[in-house]
Amino acid sequence: MENAFGQPQNVVVLGGTSDIARAIALELVRTRTREVVLAGRKPDELAAAARELVLAGATSTAVVTFDAEDPSKATQCVSSAFDQIAGPVDLVIIAVGAMGDQDSDENDAVASARMITVNFTWPVAALAEIRRRLVAQGSGRILVISSVAAIRVRRASYLYSGAKAGLDRLCEGLADSLEGTGVSLQILRPGFVRTKMTTGLKEAPFSTDPDAVARDVIKGLATSHRVITSPHILVYLFAILRHLPAPLWKKINESR
């Protein structure tokens, strides 16, 4: 069970090799978490992430593999991950996602559809099963990794940002649907985070790193705010950006 500060005893991470997810899991283990289940595509990277958690103090780790391009198996993935934990599951982190290659994907129907599947459809399918299980257990928390890019979609990454926007908006409704169930959902909106997924991309203002995001998550779990923005200052920046007139928004993006 989680404690008064929203710190979980056990965590299921879907997308367990994401740099942000790894940093969050590590920070959770350093504070209180003992059991972690990591689900992802690459077994050896998952195993490496699991080893890192054991060194930090996790007493039990398990690894589950899945393919985020196949939403029909999302339920199965969630079941196998939940089965690794004996009691109630305290926290599920959804960190599944891919940046893709906008320039080549945008004229390719299959690649465009794949971006939506991995960043939106698979997470939504998984959320359906997670929701069902957590509501039945009467407790638990979901953390969905979105992005500040979901607030206003940019030309340079509209497939990724657009999919995240869909997921982010959907999760607002999903979070409302959990009222009175004992389950809650929080949306994490990081800014530009220096990770392997963003290597080679031009950094945006207020860039941050996974460890800083992880620390903001620990704080966010305690306050239970619906949206955790990291770094927090981006709340104010995007409050302005989202209402900029379109020509100005375009101009800012072109100049970068």
């Binding site: 500060f5 004992g182 305690a222």
Partner: protein, 440 residues
């Protein structure tokens, strides 16, 4: 079955459960057989997750009522769902008072047993369990009438057992006689913690009731300044009447952050200055003396949506220094903390999960919010543990399992006794899961 969100008094980690309101022992027995996870709940005044069971069946004990006639010796049998408030309404006009009351009248007898509550008289009279002569306990393997003599182990495992041995349906208590509805209170104000503790060590035993309120936010020379109030029932006076209900209600949850280090510091200052330096035998009403916070309904909402944590620990006399160390840590951390409650504990009891140990106990109210609070409380755990002390489970909402096990070395005894009546571990709670109290 309708699900309901259940909170502890600190409003920190709610969970959803199926709630039923059995009104008889037979209904409790039937319901117990209908679910694979069950827990009894009273008025929800434990601070953390002790009266919650996510996804399970929670049996409110409130319809398990009934108060027998009080016999000439002050012995009464009550349903487990009767609150101390309800009992006092009947008992006080007949000249009887509860032998032990916590800081609120709004706890049920079942809850008082589960948490083995203590009051301002622990140094002389012990905790609630000492005054329970018999109780009826429904377990998954049968219903038992327990007395300390006939069922020593199960009786004492139930006292302070956090509701994990079964569902208490009724209990027999020994009340104490009173001649007045007033307490004669002696108030002393001290500028340092050392003076308060010295005075308590020297003279607490001269008073039936004693409690000190300590300011944990002032640093430097006046660190740990505080006010000591002690008293006893007035020997004569007006015929006792039950204390009045609350006249104020906090109508909605305040914004988190209303109680911050500034406002709390200001409150502590005001409160300290408004107290007399020394006043003898001032008559105070029972309600004002024992249950000052009952004057405001739902005062826990003042702490906002994030809720608050109460941290109460006990340490033996030889570790009295750790009380000072704890207050130092707290005052230097700038974490807002309301007046802490400092008390002397008398001897403990045979309960394997019983909290009190002879020495000192300090209770702190801390709003959730400051990022350093979780770490600070972990440090306090360490301090308490190395001092040979423990944290009170009825207040806890954040301890980790390993620390809890180290603080309660007789947990294995508790598990063995529990297994004798509940081999499958059907009676459990969010607290038991969080602290792995059942070892499943």
């Amino acid at each position: 079955m309708p699900r309901e969100i259940l909170y502890g008094w600190g409003r920190t980690s709610p969970s959803a459960a199926n709630l039923e309101n059995p009104s008889s022992q037979a209904q409790v027995e039937a319901l117990l057989h209908s679910s694979d996870a069950t827990l009894a709940r009273g008025l929800g005044r434990s601070y953390g997750d002790a009266a919650q069971l996510a996804g399970g069946l929670v049996l409110s004990n409130r319809l398990l009522g009934g108060i027998s006639p009080i016999d000439g010796a002050g012995v009464v049998t009550v349903g487990a769902g009767i609150s101390i408030d309800e009992l006092l309404t009947v008992a006080m006009p007949q000249g009887w008072f509860v032998p032990v009351t916590p800081g609120t009248r709004h706890v049920t007898i079942g809850g008082a047993i589960a948490a083995d509550v203590h009051g301002k008289n622990h140094h002389l009279d012990g905790s609630f369990s000492r005054h329970v002569t018999a109780l009826r306990l429904v377990t998954p393997t049968g219903t038992h009438d327990l007395t300390p003599a006939t069922h020593h182990d199960l009786f004492w495992a139930t006292m302070g057992g956090m509701g994990l041995t079964g569902v208490v349906t009724e209990a027999t208590l020994q009340l104490i006689p009173i001649r007045s509805d007033h307490v004669l209170v002696t108030t002393m104000r001290f500028d340092t913690l050392d003076e308060i503790m010295a005075e308590m060590l020297a003279h607490d035993d001269d008073f039936r009731y004693s409690v000190a309120w300590v300011d944990c936010m002032t640093r430097g020379r006046s660190m740990g300044r505080g006010i000591l109030t002690r008293g006893d029932h007035a020997p004569s006076g007006t015929t006792p009447v039950a204390p009045r209900g609350a006249r104020l209600t906090v109508p909605f949850t305040a914004p988190s952050g209303l109680l911050n280090s500034l406002t709390v510091r200001a409150f502590n200052e005001l409160w300290f200055r408004s107290s007399p330096r020394h006043r003898e035998a001032e008559p105070q009403g029972i309600g004002a003396f024992f249950h000052p916070l009952d004057g405001v309904n739902s005062w826990n909402r003042l702490y906002g949506r994030r809720g608050f944590v109460q941290y109460q620990f006990a340490v033996p006399d030889e570790a009295g220094d750790s009380v000072r160390t704890a207050i130092e840590k707290l005052s230097s951390s700038h974490v807002p903390s309301f007046l802490a409650v400092l008390k002397r504990f008398g001897p403990g009891n045979p309960g394997p999960l019983s909290f009190p140990i002879p020495g000192w106990t300090l209770a702190l109210d801390l709003p959730v919010g400051p990022a350093k609070l979780p770490g600070l409380l972990n440090e306090l755990d360490e301090l308490v543990l190395t001092s040979g002390g423990r944290v009170y489970l009825a207040k806890d909402s954040r301890l980790d399992a390993a620390t809890a096990h180290a603080m309660y070395p007789r947990l294995e005894d508790f598990r063995r006794i529990k297994e004798s009546v509940d081999p499958e571990g059907l009676i459990t709670s969010d607290l038991a899961r969080r602290l792995n109290l059942l070892g499943k």
